[in-house]
């Protein structure tokens, strides 16, 4: 495996994603946990760039770090015990064993066969990389993804209405 700048970038983003994930899981402070989560998702955005999908990278940053992080923070404020989470890591050993078993399963079952079949697997940059404008066309053509596009809108509207209904119930005034 040659060390190109792409490889270096991949390693950097992998460290960011994994480091952020570890930070989320081990952090005692809920707000700090949110920040670590955003760091980890920023790493995921980096992966999207490496896979020639910059649109998804921008979506990741915009939606997760721009909107969901704020919502998480607001949700964290609604819980009382933000900073004094006691260490509730009971049954530590079995949890660690389960995590290692899952990791081994992933490597042996998923990553292993892929690499054994194609030992020189590299970044799949083909000559027919679709761009964002092709995505836009796909959204709008009748024989393409127009219907899922509309269904996505419907889903978003349903989410908004549902969230408003739930949020209003916790309000005293109806």
């Amino acid at each position: 495996m040659e060390i190109t700048i792409v490889t270096v970038a991949f390693i950097v983003f992998a460290l960011i994603s994994l480091g952020g994930a570890i930070g989320v899981v081990t952090c005692h402070n809920l707000f700090r946990g949110t920040i670590w989560l955003m760091v980890s998702l920023f790493g995921a955005a980096g992966f999207f760039v490496l896979l020639s999908a910059p649109f998804l990278a921008a979506v990741q940053v915009l939606v997760y770090i721009g909107a969901i992080a704020i919502l998480f923070t607001f949700a964290v404020m609604l819980t009382r015990s933000i900073s004094n989470l006691k260490t509730r890591f009971t049954r530590l050993n079995i949890n660690i064993a389960a995590a290692i078993a899952l990791f081994v399963l992933l490597v042996v079952g998923v990553i292993g066969p892929v690499f054994i079949l194609n030992p020189d697997l590299q970044q799949p940059v083909s000559s027919v990389t679709r761009t964002t404008i092709d995505l836009g066309e796909a959204f709008a053509r009748g024989n393409s993804f127009a219907l899922p596009f509309e269904l996505a809108s419907l889903l978003l509207t349903a989410a908004m209405i549902g969230a408003i209904v739930i949020a209003r119930e916790s309000d005293d005034e109806v």
């Binding site: 700048i5 707000f31 700090r32 920040i35 649109f55 915009l62 770090i65 721009g66 704020i70």
Partner: protein
């Protein structure tokens, strides 16, 4: 990756190709970021001078000729101020927040095209990148408010974030229009598409919407309840002192000028002007137009009173958001009808003035129609308010003095 220019020179000189590329990229970064960083130093002086003149006073005039070195005096003052970090603050986040806030503004300059040949990066998704990076600033402010471990900072941060988040909607909807007209999210292509006609003339309501939302996004008057000194005592940056506060401060000033430049890039032709083929003159046009818009935003800031948070929110959710959505719908319909009638070119890049003229006129008509409707609504709203006030006054007079 191709290796040209400085990179090639270094490579031929014997450096490893990766390192040569990195050094050339770094040189590019320093050049591109030099523009905003030098500008912000000048901006602080401009802001204070203009604010002073509008308020009928002189402004800084002691330090250096016309007070030009005032910024450096402020810089030195902030550098030598003691940095009082409250013990209860969250160290890492407290220190990181001003860095991220400033970085989120500077990163926008990476995609701004200064001339047809000089820009940081021509991203395919330039507009989305810009919005995404600006949203990093929102999180930085929230972090600052939280990490200060101070009730007032947190309250201030909540209000700021609610304001920023609300006004991002009309801003991004207004940005859909240049993207639609140019057929690309790349800022370079958006400017190129304005060769025939500025988008600000084709879609003035979008320009106004973007201007108002951007004004609110930076926390400028009339939306400056963020730093309402009489209320929440400087808001989320209560606990910040010294240079860290200076960074928030500089980030805000730079953000206003960044919005002015973005307004020019999206709506007012970017670097187009007479003799634009010369890169230096093109850059000058960009700076000139941005300065005019920056002056207008300063003018508004120093003239209008401050709005309350409920008025600000009402204005956004009940007026700006529906207007921005209606604007997108109208422009989409008009553009498609014109394209189907073959009166408008499908690709505005490289279209001449004459080819774009019918589209411009029709869009302008549509915008004027919408504007008239808005003005009509404002008139009726003003009339009902005035009649109600007169009724109240007459009732009070009838009851007894």
């Amino acid at each position: 990756m191709d290796c040209t220019g400085l990179c090639e020179t270094l490579f031929r000189g014997g450096l490893d190709q990766g390192i040569a590329q990195f050094i050339s990229l770094l040189a590019g970064v320093l050049l591109v970021s030099g523009v905003p960083l030098v500008t912000v130093i000048f901006l602080i002086w401009v802001e204070r001078k203009i604010a002073a003149r509008i308020q009928d006073r002189l402004g800084p005039n002691r330090v250096g000729p016309f007070g030009l070195l005032q910024t450096f005096a402020d810089l030195i003052k902030l550098l030598i101020k003691e940095d009082i970090t409250p013990t209860a603050a969250d160290r890492l986040l407290y220190n990181a927040a001003p860095l991220v806030a400033f970085a989120s503004v500077v990163l926008i300059w990476g995609v701004i095209p200064y001339t047809p040949y000089h820009f940081g990066a021509d991203l395919e998704i330039g507009v989305l990148y810009m919005v995404a990076v600006a949203s990093l600033g929102t999180l930085a402010i929230m972090t600052a408010g939280w990490a200060s471990n101070n009730k007032y900072a947190l309250l201030g941060a909540f209000r700021v974030v609610a304001l920023l988040v609300s006004y991002e909607i009309p801003m991004v909807f207004a940005l859909l229009v240049p993207v639609m007209l140019a057929g690309s999210m790349s800022l370079l292509e958006i400017v190129h598409a304005q060769g025939g006609m500025w988008f600000g003339i084709m879609a003035p309501i979008s320009a106004v919407l973007f201007f108002i939302s951007a004004q609110a996004e930076t926390g400028r008057a009339p939306f400056d309840l963020i730093e309402a000194e009489s209320e929440l005592v400087a808001g989320f940056n209560i606990e910040y002192s010294g240079m860290k506060f200076g960074m928030f401060f500089a980030a805000e000033f730079l953000h206003v000028f960044t919005n002015a430049i973005l307004l020019v890039v999206f709506f007012f032709g970017g670097w187009y002007g007479p003799l634009w083929q010369e890169p230096l003159i093109a850059f000058m046009w960009l700076g000139l137009k941005a300065s005019v818009l920056y002056f207008i935003s300063l003018w508004i800031r120093n003239t209008v009173p401050r709005l309350r948070i409920d008025q600000v929110m009402w204005f956004n959710w009940f007026r700006l958001v529906p207007l921005s959505i209606a604007n997108v719908l109208v422009i989409a319909t008009v553009v498609k009808i014109m394209q189907l009638l073959n009166l408008a070119p499908r690709n505005l890049i490289g279209a001449s003035f004459g080819e774009v003229l019918p589209l411009t006129l029709v869009l302008l008509l549509a915008n004027i129609a919408m504007g008239l409707i808005i003005v009509g609504q404002l008139r009726t709203a003003g009339q009902t308010a005035r009649v109600a006030a007169e009724n109240r006054a007459s009732v009070r007079a009838a009851i007894g003095d």
